[in-house]
Symmetry: C2
Subunit: 345 residues, 2 copies
DNA sequence: CTGTTAGCGCGTTCAA
DNA sequence: TTGAACGCGCTAACAG
């Protein structure tokens, strides 16, 4: 059956709920209930209403719906940066899942700035989002208060709370500390003894990887403060090269370097080629996140594969559950990580 | 002065326009006009209203505003992929500019699929966006019709129409054909004679670069169909390596390869290192877009620097002009490009 | 220049 | 289970 031409008498020319009601011979409220699948409505009616609305080409108006119900079809997502592929992958996966469920994604970029995050959240809450996705568990008090008082269901991405902390928070991710320790132990098992940790950006997750590395080295009795190379600048290939040169110059006895992110490690590999430093025979290099290109490097880069796409999707799924008013089977989902051993170690 | 506690008598507890009107002793419409900076309002009043609204902590409700005015504070942006840094840069810049002007960005990912683009546009138009940003000038008829009939101001990204075509369309970008030709002529000027063109994804902009390359070679009397290596698969470092190996095996006489995107070229450089093929002495390699890492390769990669961030920002600016009901000084803005000569050629 | 009136399109009471 | 009435918060058309 073809959609009929617009029979509305509205000034805007839109087909409205009332148009459907009139055509179906029922009240607007019934149409509203039927179309939203609210129970307590005659199955026969719901079928008739559905048919008529399809025939008329009726589509609900999100603004009207938001105004009346105090809840929009938006889901707000807060990520630190768009210049890090990690977060883009998260965004991509979450957005795809949410759209399939009929939600629009409102993205906010915090630039790792707590007060910008707060401001963004404030703006987004004005749109009365149906749900909220935020990166990490670390937020300033005002932000936490906003999230709590808004009553909007919220899922945290990437990170899992330390045991006994934030137990009520919904999150999907993996334990960054464990991942840092795991890679370090892997390097130890390969026989490396002077393992440096080189990091940039220094966001909370990077710091947790640092702690993991520290713990693992301390357990092995191999920790030394001079093995830490921390740089607060944004992460990049170029910076990786710079860090690599610094470390090789100032600590030539280092036999392995664990970079907190693959872009740094890739930059280090390129610098090694340039400087004629043999990897891994002279020094081993490991990265984190297993980003695009790491398997194409020379030598190919050992890294920690993190399931960012799956995190984005699973977090969106958990949020969908919460938005339906249900509880997920567990408030915390650990998607773990995987050591990818390649030629650079 | 501190914001007063909420004086609203509304069920929702929200401070509304009427609350401000009451407190200021004027009518709601006056408040509405004053706050939106509509002229034809007494300067004294607008000051009083502003003061009162700030004191009460009044914030307009976007949903109510959208319902009443038939226009939301959303701007929809359609891009092909989130897995290509090019489009993410575009998104980042546009989003930043738009947010500063008080607009929320609704992003849609088309996956280079014309019907998905159409469907996304349909969904987004339901939200009555104040403006529209789309990638490229190529859209299916239904999409073009939607854009036209919606009356929503629209700016096209990245591409400029061929002379005499789409003259009315608003766009910000550069001439892809010219860029392709410019790099080819640059290679010719360096003495290369058998210049292959290797491409993936094959979207309309890639094809235009191809035409530019073709024209330049034909002018020089050096064109041969066997120099074209087109692969419809998505672009990636790995694919660049594969293409490079193919070309070197099947056309060993090629002395330069122009890749349609830097990720392919970077992959080719890595493959060359792996295979022990000297770049540029045995074969030169050039890329396109000057993506992250191209200046860190070994050898560093010659490329075409494209002003994607500036395109995103300028397009957003042009859209802001259109949304104000004004006309930009010119409907088409050419931001050009730049050949970046590095070691690989 | 300002106020009054009338919606925008829908969800949500409450009665029936 | 259904319908009537009302309200969500704001803009727009018109009158003054």
């Amino acid at each position: 059956m073809q959609p009929l031409p617009n029979k509305s008498h509205r000034a805007t020319g839109r087909v409205t709920l009332s148009d459907v009601a009139r055509a179906a011979g029922v009240s607007p409220s019934t149409v509203s209930r039927a179309l939203r699948g609210e129970r307590a409505v005659d199955p026969a009616l719901i079928e008739r209403v559905t048919a008529v609305s399809r025939m008329l080409g009726y589509v609900p108006d999100p603004a009207a719906r938001a105004l009346a119900s105090q809840r929009s079809d938006h889901v707000a997502i807060l990520i630190p940066l768009l210049s890090n592929a990690l977060f883009v992958d998260l965004l991509d996966a979450a957005q795809t899942t949410l759209r399939a469920a009929g939600y629009q994604t409102l993205m906010g970029v915090t630039h790792y700035d707590a007060s910008e995050e707060e401001q963004l959240l404030r703006e987004q809450l004005l749109h009365r989002p149906a749900g909220l996705l935020v990166t990490g568990l670390d937020h300033n008090p005002a932000t936490r208060k906003l999230m709590a008082s808004s009553q909007v269901p919220c899922v945290h991405l990437m990170d899992l709370p330390a045991i006994g902390q934030h137990d009520e928070a919904h999150c999907v991710g993996f334990r960054q500390t464990d991942a840092g320790a795991a890679m370090t132990r892997h390097l130890l098992s390969k026989g490396y003894r002077r393992i440096a940790f080189a990091a940039a950006q220094l966001d909370p997750r990077v710091m947790q990887r640092l702690y993991g590395w520290r713990n693992a080295l301390q357990e092995a009795g191999l920790y030394e403060p001079t093995l830490e190379w921390l740089n607060p600048a944004p992460s990049s290939l170029a910076l990786g090269g710079v860090l690599f040169e610094q470390i090789m110059q100032q600590s030539p006895s280092v036999d392995a370097i664990f970079f907190c992110n693959d872009d740094l490690a890739q930059g280090a590999l390129m610098a090694a080629l340039r400087l004629g430093i043999a990897v891994p025979s002279q020094v081993a290099i490991a990265g984190f996140n297993d980003l695009t290109g790491s398997d194409q490097m020379l030598p190919t880069l050992t890294s920690v594969r993190t399931p960012r796409a799956r995190i984005g999707e699973a977090a969106a799924q958990m949020l969908l559950t919460l938005m339906r008013g249900e509880e997920p089977s567990s408030p915390q989902l650990d998607l773990s990580f995987e050591i990818v051993q390649r030629q650079s170690t």
